[in-house]
Amino acid sequence: MILRYDGTFAGFLTSVSLARERGLEPEAIADREPEQQGLFATVETVATSRDRADELYRLIRHTLTPGAMQTFRYAFQSCEPGREILLFRYLQLGLATGAQFGAMLAHEAVIPVWKLARAVGREAHRYKGLVRFQHLEGDIWYAAMEPDHCILPLIAPHFAARFADQRWIIHDRRRGEAVAFDPRHQKWAATPLELTATLPCTAGEEFFRELWQRYFDRLAIAERRNPKLQRQNLPLKHRRHLPEFEQ
């Protein structure tokens, strides 16, 4: 059995809830048609049920420690194909073992999920520094990024607290999604977004961009030059939207 869900967290929880009810482990849980269909696997499309999802979520929150809960949430934001079945096994073990679960750090069902969560957590932390806003006409602060994982909901609260007086948008260009923050209501919301035109920057933006580039170029100490270390700390894939690396 392959369960196909809509890609949302609630949809995933609904799928887990269904599988648990039937008492069997699905071959896969995925948000798109599997590329290679198993000969005998049947694909079942799961309709997201808010009630089912809520019920399971309450049970998970009640059973898992806060640390295990965060691992679970972060790992779900990963874009690794096949993550859902790992998360399913993780939950099954957690719900079956209860209080013991917190100490099962070396268990084979825990390690892969922990690794996913760690990768997502690291990337989210990194992007708190790498998101760069441009000041656009109309007093909007716009930032583009192309992260590996779906980290927008993880970093939005950080920027909402920090730039509470700016109208800002962070745009995940890889996924065509964005979060937008409204300072009047102090709320951020996710929205699909595709760019159709070039963005009109303010004059101040050009000024600060040049200022930053010239400042940045002076910072390295020539005697300590070490581009390998620089690449290790800041891989090329993260430099695409940083003004200091613009050619």
Binding site: M104, F133, R162, R218, L219, R225, K228, N233, L242
Partner: protein
Amino acid sequence: MPKLTLAEKLEILADGAKYDVSCASSGSSRRNKGGIGNGAQCGICHSWTADGRCVSLLKILLTNACIYDCAYCVNRRSNDTRRVILTPAEVAELTIGFYRRNAIEGLFLSTGVVKDPDHTMELLIEATRILREEHRFNGYIHVKVVPGADLLLVERLGRLADRVSVNMELPSRESLKLLAPDKSREAIVAPMKRVGELIVQTKEERKVSRKIPPFAPAGQSTQLIIGASGESDLQIVSLAAGLYGRLAMKRVYYSAFIPVNIDSRLPSVIGTPPLVREHRLYQADWLMRYYGFAAGELLDEERPNLDLTLDPKAGWALRNLHIFPLEVNRAPLELLLRVPGIGVRSAQRIAGARRGGHLSLDDLARLGVVMKRARYFVTARGRFAADLAPDAAGLRARLTERTTPRPRWNQPSLFDAAAAIDIQSTITGEL
């Protein structure tokens, strides 16, 4: 002289500030109270320069003009460089401009000494005050204390900043006298002591009432230049241990000496700065702050300098082979932390995971232990992973041996006769 643009001024002032290696933006969780910015407890890096160092704060000087003539300093009086100064308001505006773009975590403000220490301090305080009060900026601010300034000014600065620091630069009184004759050890230590007292005192007061404004919530730090004077690593590490212990210092930075001036009092350094020595000192520093090592365990009178070929933890382990191998399922956390290849996180994960069941050697690798080093020092369920007992003579060689880089493969050219034969044999499998 033609008037300089802001960009040109910024370049000159960045040039003057970049030799200060302090980069941390951690330790303060200042909240955004109806303005802009906040402190991230863990600190955030925003970029990395071509020397591999991170950019976290806008690191600039208020001015590179200075009345002092310290031998090692790029901004010393006798250097023929262009002197510029920013107004406190300009510093604040630059900070806000970069901060709103999320290019920085905040400001690192240092300065040359103009007129006298008190006047200079007042300029630094004014820049900080404008940021906090007029721009309602709650991001991270690290400001240098000018040695010799009035202690009341030091207190005012600490109430506004997240971190303050006085750079010791030279590890001994004698070196200071030789290389920085205008600064006395007392003028450096007095504000450090006062800052230390105020940090401890304010923390106590804030336990009673949160209304009392914090004093340098991210603590104080200092910097030592490595290799400009003749001190041994033992002297440096002992000094650092004293600073951590007595003055409630949060960080000591080590900066490999880079000759920016020609001066007969300075050692003539040829080639690269002592970067490996600097790296080993940082490792020793980490061992003292996070791993429970005392300075005396890492170095002593007989071996006053750190081994450049071996990290100090492995060095300690080789001198204390009698406690190894440790059984990871039983050893207390303090001892796990002393195993080469086990870091703070993996030690904690081991301690957590062994509550759930006996750990095997395979589990250790999965928990993040670097088995390449740890294998010689641990057992799991009584099993030992290495082919070499920890008292074997070859252990030191194993731990220092460098992995040779793999040979690089070149794309063979189809039209190169010799290569063509290779390709032929690759395709057919014949030699």
